[in-house]
């Protein structure tokens, strides 16, 4: 299987503070890659570097075959990104948000119209087409944001805490959408707080104080740490953390 993300010794320093400390890993095509860590462990900074939003201080990496330092504009065409903050426009209707991002990624009007129907159908959202996004419940907003992030069929989608604050039933549905996307060949790079969600990933990395301390499939990690759940694995690693939140 080919690798869509390759990272080696990636480091980001802000003054004296090393947010991300020489991390190395790679992600295979079609994989669901869980990127775990406590608050302040450096997850978001790492994602920003991979998406071309932030320049690495040291190290190298490539995403979708493009260098993250030099070819970050090329990367942007081939990825989808859902940020930690809710990232749709609240004062735009559902279909207007879809059309906006379809347009930004350069899709033709006909394609946008056709895919919009499919998307609304799949989400069971047909009646909400003209609803202002601000009127939607949080869980629905997140599902819509995810659908829009993969609307242009990117090679990789980066999801930064997509299920934060969402109720368990909705989270379950959200993960079904992630599986759907992975089945269609989209690589999913996801950060989360919820350890039961880590079990859904093909492979998981755990960041502590800017470093990746563990990286393997959930089952192998549980075995290696002699733990019953990913939560226990995480607790063991997080205890070593020096950084306060």
């Amino acid at each position: 299987m080919d690798k869509v993300i390759e990272v080696e010794g990636l480091t980001k320093r802000f003054g004296n503070f090393t947010a991300v400390d020489r991390i190395s890993f790679d992600v295979k095509r079609g994989e669901i890659f869980g990127f775990l860590g406590a608050n302040g462990a450096g997850k978001t900074t790492a994602i920003h570097m991979l998406c071309g939003l932030s320049k690495p201080t040291e190290g190298r990496g490539s995403v979708a075959g493009f260098d993250i330092t030099r070819e970050n504009e090329m990367i942007k065409q081939n990825i989808g990104y859902m940020s930690q903050k809710f990232s749709l426009y609240e004062d735009l209707r559902v279909w207007e948000n879809i059309r906006l991002f379809g347009g930004i990624y350069g899709l033709a009007d006909k394609v946008i119209a056709k895919k919009t129907e499919e998307l609304l159908e799949r989400l069971n959202f047909k009646s909400e087409r003209n609803t202002m996004v601000k009127a939607l419940p949080l869980g629905w907003k997140q599902k819509l944001a995810f659908s829009i992030a993969i609307f242009h069929e990117p090679e990789i989608v980066f999801l930064d805490e997509p299920t934060g604050g969402v109720d368990p039933a909705m989270r379950r549905q959200f993960w079904e959408m992630i599986y759907d996307a992975a089945e269609r060949g989209i690589t999913v790079f996801v950060t989360t707080h919820y350890m039961e969600e880590a079990e859904y990933c093909h492979r998981v990395s755990i960041m502590v104080d800017g470093r990746i301390d563990a990286l393997d499939s959930p089952r192998n990690l549980r075995e290696a740490y002699g733990a019953k759940s990913m939560d226990e694995v995480f607790q063991q690693l997080a205890r070593k953390a020096q950084r306060a939140d």
Binding site: H48, C51, G52, L53, S54, K55, N72, E73, K76, Q77, I79, Y81, M82, S83, Q84, K85, F86, S87, L88, Y89, E90, D91, L92, E96, R99, L100, F101, G102, G103, I104, Y105, G106, L107, A108, F158
Partner: protein
Amino acid sequence: MKQFIAFVNKEFYHLVRDRRSMLIILGIPVVQILLFGFAINTEVKDIRVAMHAPHPDAFSEGVTERFRRNEFFNLREDLHTPREMEMALQKGRLDMAVLFHPSEESIQLIVNSADPNRGSIATTYATAIIAGYQLEESGVGMSQIPFAIEVESRMIYNPGMESAYMFVPGIMGLVLMLICTMMTSVSIVREKERGTMEVLLASPLKQGTMVIAKTIPYLLISIINLVSILLLSYFVLNVPIRGSLILLLGISVIYIFLSLAFGLLISTVVRSQINAVIISAIIVMLPGLMLSGMIFPIENMPSILQWVSDIVPARWYTQAIKKVMIQGLGGAMVWKETLILTGMALLLVVGSTLNLKPRLE
């Protein structure tokens, strides 16, 4: 192009769905132009004057009659003694006292000059009235004076000395820039505050596309403002539009675009929407009022302030609008101003595009 259109649409939705801001944006110019147009008035009218002649004679009667009939003066017949007049002057109920001294064959004018401009103009009027009467009464016709030099003055461009002629171009420069700059100054920082900027930066959208697209809806709404300002000044303040309307609109659109780009530049620098509004108000208001030539003539400023005024866009715009609107001059006379404004607009667009970093941090 597709990206551009999609982004312009989005900006339109933001603008028209924010009803309250829309009301403010369309209302402020109307209020301001009426407020400035009626409140700022440098014409000297209704000068309250009282006369005192200890020994009334034909001369004092004649002069008094002249003041009574003059439209600029309002003769106060209830004040008689110098003492009463002094009190009235102190209390601000009188602007001028005229005291006849028949023994010394002189007339004394006591003028309230707390407002020096008003005081000196009132003195000039009064002197002219008295001199005119004297000349007439002396019984000598013009023909009998060996050297008669007749001074005939004609006020061109603004024969009625209407102060609105002077202020409307200045207010246009100030109000248009203020509104436009404020509108766009919040627009990029708002996306940063809400977190949508992160997603836009992670998309293939180019910074230049974003900057230009953000000006389009505001450009259109500002043209509505421009039209309402021109209608008000034409029909309500009676300011003529003597030159070409097309030229006037053309220069104004360049100026509007410049102001919008300036707002975007501010928006790329500040960290919050509140800061954006405060900073744009201060940066636009102060130089716009002081250094645009609207209130204080630029030629009278110390040379360092004249240099500073050179970089104030409102100065060039006001100057051009005065030429076109009031003096009725054509394009050949305003090419310099137009060129400067265009140059500044391009500089600001490039500046805000470069300042809108393609990365976070």
